[in-house]
């Protein structure tokens, strides 16, 4: 065993050349990989394939004991989806949430990150911990607390508004204000995550770039515009993709705060999938919804990487 290993290490970091890899090395590799691969295969990889198969069936509660015996309906779930106004409504709501929520989250995260790493010199840890706090707490707890904050009669927000002489609206019961309220909560919760990643990205920018900019007479804004932003580009792109993928899966917030209402104004795609799958037990149909979301996620991620990367 040791001889080929030594040969390998002498080829300074390059892929092994020379003797063919033996079955023993394969065995060792797989013995390290097997527990992960088995669990991962059964509970993550196979279900992804199974969901695809389910989406072509009329799988429901009656099929639960005998999944193989379910009826194959071909693409009917998908054609039904095309004519399902509730699905389109949920897709529209989800896109609204993403299109408004993602830029706000990233912009605020960037502002705070820039203030933390270039604007101040003390109490950085305190600020970082404070802004990051909501990120690690349960969305369910946060949604319960925010529902109470937004309560029209006894909520803190309307109490503060009434001190200013303004009668606050019934935020979550209004079909125009419910989604903006949920967006505000999501931005509040997630901007700390963007901040931490951006701060780390900013630390990697060589200080001499700022010194050079300063010598050239650049002010704080110009340094941000012409040094920080371009250097941070890969990080911003990455956060854009990650945040968009996360936001496309909106679920807990409307589940706890509005039950998708009022008048389906906050019904998200994942929530509609949950309702179809576990309230009406149309699991074939729900699988089709899940797959459409999957395809949207994949396309969005692909487009963001392709276009935003080449733009630079």
């Amino acid at each position: 065993m040791t001889a080929p290993a030594l040969v390998r290490s002498n080829v300074a970091g390059r892929a092994p050349v020379g003797p063919r890899r033996g079955w023993r090395q394969d065995l060792i590799g797989w013995s390290f990989a097997a527990p992960f691969v088995i669990l991962f295969g059964i509970f993550l990889a196979l279900p992804i394939i199974a969901a695809f198969a389910l989406s072509f069936t009329s799988f429901g509660l009656r099929d639960l004991d005998n999944p193989i015996g379910t009826t194959v309906v071909g693409v009917q779930n998908y054609t039904d989806l095309l004519g399902d106004p509730k699905f389109w409504k949920s897709l529209g709501n989800t896109i609204y949430f993403v299109v408004v929520g993602v830029p706000l989250t990233l912009a605020l995260g960037l502002v705070v990150a820039n203030a933390l790493s270039r604007g101040i010199t003390r109490f950085r840890t305190v600020f970082r911990v404070g802004y990051y706090l909501p990120v690690i707490t349960s969305i369910v707890a946060i949604a319960v607390v925010w529902r109470f904050l937004l309560n029209p009669d006894v909520g803190l927000i309307n109490i503060l508004l009434s001190n200013l002489g303004i009668t606050g609206p019934n935020w979550l019961a209004s079909s125009t204000l419910a989604m903006p309220s949920i967006i505000a909560m999501a931005v509040w919760r997630n901007l700390g995550f963007a901040m931490v990643v951006f701060v780390a990205g900013m630390q990697a920018i060589p200080a001499m770039l700022y010194e050079a900019a300063s010598i050239d007479g650049a002010g704080r804004w110009q340094a941000f515009r012409y040094v920080t932003l371009p250097m941070l580009r890969p990080t911003i792109l990455f956060m854009l993709v990650i945040t968009t993928i996360g936001y496309l899966q909106l679920f807990e917030e409307p589940f706890v705060m509005t039950d998708g209402g009022p008048l389906d104004a906050t019904l998200s795609v994942t929530m509609y999938m949950y309702q179809q799958g576990f309230e009406f037990f149309h699991q074939g149909y729900a699988s089709a919804i899940a797959y459409v979301l999957f395809v949207i996620v994949a396309i969005v991620a692909f487009l963001q990487f392709k276009f935003l990367r080449s733009e630079a």
């Binding site: 390290f32 669990l39 690690i136 349960s138 509040w188 999938m273």
Partner: protein, 292 residues
């Protein structure tokens, strides 16, 4: 994954500018402090609300501080609603899931970073490909699978799908690339088997990464919602988020004091972990850009 690999420590400002600028920046501190107030405010409101009596929520004008602080809401949570059981369920699931991830993920991470074996590339591709997959996709097939295995409403049903995940593999693989090959070769030359090398040479160096992975996995499991919502259908198997959401949308939806107390119980363990280990958490996230 990206260029975000620097440590969070900050380079010092050029000496001449530091003192001068610190004075000119008071307004940045002011704005950031106002922001902190907005971030922490809801948590303070949550704690204050949990200490109010039901009657106090009806008083006009509404109170900010509790007039007569009471632990009544907590007592009701624990006596009437079986929160100790939910707390136990959440803890057990999160601990086992964390153990699974810190045992199995670094093994694959090591195999991908330091070993040569056939099948390595497809396994890597498989793990990569699932990173982007929405959690909702696997929900229904896993429910069907668990129903057929008789594991709905059981601990294995809540735990098995989360024992491993791609996040842990990326985190450990990235770190293990940095371990010098010479160190591993030296152990092999000394006659150590691959497993012995792994446990006695590689693992001890990897502990800081495992700590980060462990903390992040615990938090993700503790906060996980949609999956236990589906898999725990009997109240005795509820985890804390499922219990809180069920009460918040059901019989107790206007019992604000108790809902705030329930939120406190759900948030406090996470707060303690975060305050104790915040450096590992934020650095782990910064180095990988992933939440777990």
């Amino acid at each position: 994954m990206t260029a975000v690999q620097a440590r969070l420590a900050t380079p010092p400002l050029p000496a001449g500018q530091a003192g001068q600028r610190a004075l000119g920046r008071w307004w940045i501190y002011l704005l950031l402090s106002f922001g902190i107030l907005l971030m922490v405010g809801p948590f303070i409101w949550m704690v204050l609300g949990s200490l109010k009596t039901p009657g106090e929520f009806l008083v006009s004008p509404p109170t900010f501080l509790p007039a007569k602080p009471t632990t009544d809401n907590y007592i009701r949570l624990f006596d009437e609603l079986d929160f100790p059981r939910f707390f136990f369920n959440s803890s057990l699931v999160a601990l086992v899931v964390t153990a699974g991830n810190i045992i199995f993920c670094p093994m694959l991470g090591y195999a991908l970073a330091k070993l040569q074996w056939r099948g390595k590339r497809p396994v890597m591709a498989l793990v990569l490909a699932t990173l982007m997959v929405p959690a909702g996709i696997t929900l229904i097939p896993n429910f069907v699978l668990m129903a057929n295995l008789g594991l709905v409403n059981t601990y294995p049903g809540l735990i098995l799908p989360f024992l491993v995940g791609p996040f842990g593999v990326f985190l450990t693989r990235q770190f293990m690339f940095g371990i010098p090959d010479e160190l591993i070769e030296a152990a092999r030359i000394d006659g150590a088997s691959e497993w012995r090398t792994y446990w006695q040479v590689v693992m001890p160096i990897t502990i800081p990464v495992l700590a980060t992975l462990g903390i992040l996995t615990f938090l993700a499991s503790w906060n996980n919602f949609i999956y236990p919502l589906v898999m725990a259908q009997e109240p005795e198997m509820y985890t804390l988020p499922v219990a809180l959401a069920t009460f918040a949308t059901g019989d107790h939806q206007s019992d604000n004091g108790m809902l705030m107390a329930g939120s406190v119980v759900l948030v406090i363990p996470v707060l303690i972990i975060f305050i104790l280990f915040q450096r590992w958490i934020t650095e782990g996230i910064a180095t990988t850009g992933l939440k777990g």
